[in-house]
């Protein structure tokens, strides 16, 4: 079989496509890449479909052996990746040959890397998606994270254009992150003082950070209510439990919940958040729904207008 073999799975490596949508009524969450920006570029560098299945590598430690000739691209966090012990460039299409050993160190900048392969990994869909959600045991290979000896099937690909992302477009994960928020849900239960505190304080990522949610610590803010009838939770929603410490709900969140929410962080910024390590600081900025709509459309236009640098093979 034409595939990559997992020699070491690393701390948490997951098969992801863009996510599972339209299944909330069964209680199924979205899954999908935490940093959708880096994920999308990985697929684009391999000239793939936007929804092709790739790997999300958290923190690092993954070792793969190519068992076919193909092309890959690695984007996102810098994990000091080597192929056969030579350092490789990120954000670039790379030719691999059967027998090559791809070795991820640990993140020195950012927290999650993405590895795409030409044509995507061939993983059967469950509920319309290959996205792995370990809590639900759905997607990927048997619903779990990668294990040593797993085989990741993919096509042999002998010809692909080698592209790289222009240097100025490569994200710097050490820059401060501002999370843009649209007020919503129970925002009216946070009075003017609480809202001002929230938007003027700096929050630190706690060590309780996973694909369900990112718990922050800092200035406590209070809602005038303790709980609500459980209701649908959208991606990026900011839940404020009784201790006043915000939790930003991410791709693997539960679909319903009963804590008050002040609003939601836009997906472009949860992507940046997902590249931060515990201890990093963030702050919040309020934007209007109209502004968010513009930001989203402009990002699409901007990304499409970036011309990749073409290299001779």
């Amino acid at each position: 079989m034409s595939a990559f073999k997992v020699i070491q799975p690393g701390l948490l490596t997951l098969i992801q496509d863009r996510g599972r949508f339209g299944q909330h009524r069964l209680g199924l969450t979205n899954g999908g890449p935490l940093d959708s920006h880096a994920f999308d570029w990985a697929n684009r560098l391999c000239s793939n479909d936007a929804n092709a299945s790739a790997l999300e590598i958290s923190i690092g430690g993954l070792v793969l052996e190519a068992q076919t000739d193909t092309y890959i691209a690695i984007t996102g966090a810098d994990m000091k990746v080597t192929i056969n012990n030579s350092a490789i460039e990120l954000w670039r299409t790379i030719k691999v040959t059967s027998g090559d050993k791809i070795n991820f160190g640990f993140a020195t900048s950012g927290a999650r890397a993405y590895l795409s392969v030409a044509g995507g990994f061939n993983i059967p869909e469950s509920f319309t998606s290959t996205a792995t959600v370990t809590r639900e045991a759905i997607g990927g290979i048997n619903g779990g994270k990668l294990q040593a000896q797993d085989l990741l099937p993919c096509a042999q690909t002998l010809q692909r254009t080698i592209f790289s992302l222009p240097e100025p477009e490569i994200p710097d994960y050490n820059l401060p992150v501002t999370l843009r928020v649209i007020l919503g849900y129970q925002q009216a239960t946070f009075d003017a003082v609480q809202q001002r505190l929230f938007f003027s304080s700096r929050y630190q990522l706690s060590d309780k950070v996973d694909r369900m949610g990112f718990r922050l610590q800092g200035q406590s803010i209070q809602s005038s209510i303790e709980g609500i009838l459980s209701e649908g939770i959208c991606h990026g929603a900011i839940q404020i439990p009784a201790d006043g410490q915000p939790i930003i709900l991410m791709n693997d969140r539960q679909t319903i919940g009963g804590y008050p929410k002040i609003g939601s962080v836009i997906a472009q910024d949860t992507a940046k958040l997902s590249q931060l390590m515990p201890g990093a600081y963030v702050n919040f900025e309020q934007i209007s729904l109209e502004h968010a709509h513009n930001i989203n459309h402009l990002k699409t236009v901007r990304d499409q207008s970036i011309t990749l640098i073409e290299h001779s093979a």
Partner: protein
């Protein structure tokens, strides 16, 4: 009725402060009409006790249009009776063997075990929400005589099929998981089976009645002890 922004691509509709079979039926009705009105623009929806979260594609539409569709669907809500939704019967083997909290729950309620079973099977429940885990259906409302608070220390392992009570809600655990609800029996019907079509026997808005079965029937129906 109240409509709020939830996020960059989602709007939440609140039908009431409290739930009831009528409110739940309205959520269902609105969900179906919004689904038809939004068509391709719809990404997902989360119906719950008294609210409906509508998630749309902001690259093909905008919140003004979605808002208009929601307004239209709300203006067309019809008076509904609580008899809407399919009636699904779920078999349950109630016993101290299959429900470790049955005896203490009965003792606290000053009822016999037989009375607890009778009260639990008499009621027709409504599926108010699905969440927590795939296929976990929140059923309400449990007769106040057998309502019981969550365990102070949740169990690390609740078996698949466990029939459970927490406050005035009841549910069948769709998979083995940790859980703090009071376990009173086991249901041999799979509440979530990724290989089956449909993968769940119930959906939000359906009505559920439990039917007491004997140990032998439970085993015949594929139940495991």
């Amino acid at each position: 009725m109240k409509i709020e922004i939830a996020g960059e691509n989602s709007i939440i509709v609140y039908f009431a402060d409290q739930t009831s079979p009528q409110v739940s039926a309205q959520v269902q009705q609105c969900m179906h009409s919004v689904e038809a009105l939004l068509g391709e623009h719809l990404i997902d929806m989360v119906p719950s006790y008294a609210s409906l979260l509508v998630i749309y594609n902001p690259f093909t539409t905008d919140h003004y249009f979605v808002r208009r569709c929601i307004d239209k669907s709300l203006s067309e809500l019809q008076a509904l009776t609580q008899k809407e939704g399919n009636l699904i019967e779920l078999p349950a083997y109630y016993s101290t063997e299959s429900g470790p909290d049955l005896a203490p729950l009965a003792a606290n309620a000053k009822l016999s075990i037989e009375e607890v079973i009778e009260i639990h099977t008499q009621m027709e429940y409504r599926v108010y929400a699905i969440g927590f885990a795939p296929g976990f259906a929140y059923l309400g409302e449990v007769d106040p005589r057998i309502a019981a608070p969550r365990l102070s220390t949740p169990r690390l392992k609740v078996p698949r099929g466990a029939v459970a009570i927490a406050d005035r809600q009841t549910a069948v655990y769709p998979a083995q998981s940790p859980g703090g609800w009071n376990l009173i029996g086991l249901c041999p019907t799979r509440m979530f089976n990724p290989q089956a079509q449909p993968s769940m026997p119930v959906q939000v808005g359906d009505r559920v009645k439990f039917v007491a079965i004997e140990r032998a029937q439970f085993l015949d129906l594929g139940g495991e002890l």
